[in-house]
């Protein structure tokens, strides 16, 4: 199966010339002439690589960076090459700058006047390093998640211990107050019991804080599980004998993982429902 390239370019003639040269090399090229068509193509097709012109709306407008915006908005699991007739060092910095997920928006930057061979070289390089970028970023994500998860668990444990200690102390004060009221001094006993009740209220506030810590642990557990699943699948891919099948399966895993992450983070931000507290304070792994 040929590798599929989405070519986003508003100059029709230039696009046709480069499309022909890429097709001669055995790639399948899907043309898109503006950001809207490109977004539709990203949704509709399995795209292995995208080549995106910087000025997609108006070639004469030096403020037109619609192509760069498109590269930054779409999944960083798809390697991208930025193309332009007006290269500047700031455009290069933008292109190699990080996306929201802290991966580079583009893996290469090509001047249109460098010719078709430069673009072909960039395409070959992008296919070579695209997957490696994703794997390297997986390692970093896992490391960061592990660190954050550990911090959140420590925070939850500390708050749990404090809450429990205060609660026990307050219970002792209440019982002592009742005893005092019954056997010695009624006023002192009532005051003592009220102080104990006040303390229990403070403990309740501590527990509310604890809920927040649990929610964080819950989220990190979920993200760790997702990362581990992708790692397992990628490791399983190494067992495949054919390189072509391997690349195809890896691309599918990457696209599915990116989609899942996007869906779960959207759901998380929209979810204002009841809390699901899982074994954060006792170190249990969450059940699926």
């Amino acid at each position: 199966m040929p590798k599929r390239i989405l070519f986003v370019e508003n100059e029709e003639r230039f696009l046709k010339e480069r499309k022909d040269s890429l097709e001669q090399e055995g790639y399948e090229v899907i043309p898109a002439y503006n950001p809207t068509e490109a977004r539709r193509a990203f949704d509709q097709y399995r795209v292995d690589l995208a080549i995106i012109d910087i000025r997609l709306i108006d070639d004469t407008d030096e403020k037109d960076i619609s192509g760069l915006m498109l590269a930054k908005e779409t999944a960083s699991s798809i390697p991208k090459i930025i193309l332009t007739r007006f290269p500047t060092y700031n455009a290069v910095r933008e292109a190699y700058g990080p996306n929201l997920d802290e991966l580079p928006a583009a893996v290469d930057f090509v001047d249109k006047t460098e010719g078709p061979d430069a673009l072909l070289r960039a395409v070959r390089r992008a296919f070579r390093i695209g997957t490696r970028y994703f794997r390297a970023s997986q390692d970093e994500i896992r490391e960061q998640l592990n660190k954050d998860h550990q911090e959140a668990r420590e925070e939850a444990n500390t708050q749990y211990r404090w809450s429990l200690t205060i609660s026990i102390l307050c219970a002792v004060v209440i019982i002592g107050g009742i005893g005092l009221a019954l056997f010695r001094d009624v006023t002192a006993g009532v005051v003592s019991s009220l102080a104990g009740l006040g303390g229990e209220f403070v403990t309740y506030l501590f527990f509310k804080q604890l809920e927040h810590a649990h929610r964080r642990v819950d989220r990190f557990n979920e993200e760790l599980l997702q990362t581990k699943r992708v790692e397992t699948l990628l490791a399983a891919c190494d067992q495949l004998s054919s390189d072509e099948t391997k690349e195809l399966v890896i691309a599918q895993i990457i696209n599915t993982a990116a989609r899942n992450w996007l869906v779960s983070s959207t759901q998380r931000s929209q979810n204002a429902g009841p809390l699901r507290i899982r074994g954060a304070s006792n170190g249990e792994e969450p059940s699926e």
Binding site: Y89, R93, P98, P104, D108, F109, A136, E140
Partner: protein
């Protein structure tokens, strides 16, 4: 915070300028290209500033640093930035490519922005 400047010699006048600019953030060590890798391995630097004018084939040095320490933040500075050299720097693994401004506030702003950037994975 500790920074490392890789430049031609310790007498580079720009070094003084950089040292003064970075003073609010931390201190600056200076090393020549040939000793750069050893120095990088010795200490934990927040950022490694490579003077592109002083280091011929700076991209090889950047790639060597990233290969040794993948989490290193390498900032390439140059007096005359070009898009080709910017591409070369990023492809070698640089975190940023900034103009070697003599204006202290401009230099501070660009270094601060470079420090805020995440270090890209080193494939």
């Amino acid at each position: 915070m500790r920074f490392l400047l890789i430049t031609r010699s310790e007498d580079d006048p720009w070094r003084m300028h950089l040292e003064e600019t970075l003073a609010p953030l931390g201190c600056l060590d200076v090393v020549e290209k040939d000793l750069a890798i050893d120095q990088v391995l010795k200490r934990n630097y927040v950022a490694i500033v490579v003077d592109a004018a002083a280091v011929s084939e700076f991209s090889i040095l950047v790639a060597r640093i990233r290969a040794q320490i993948p989490q290193a933040r390498v900032i390439v500075t140059t007096a005359s930035p070009t898009w080709q050299r910017a591409r070369e720097a990023f492809q070698a693994g640089a975190t940023d490519y900034v103009e070697r401004s003599l204006n202290a506030s401009d230099l501070f702003a660009s270094l601060e922005a470079a420090l805020a950037k995440p270090v890209m994975p080193w494939p």
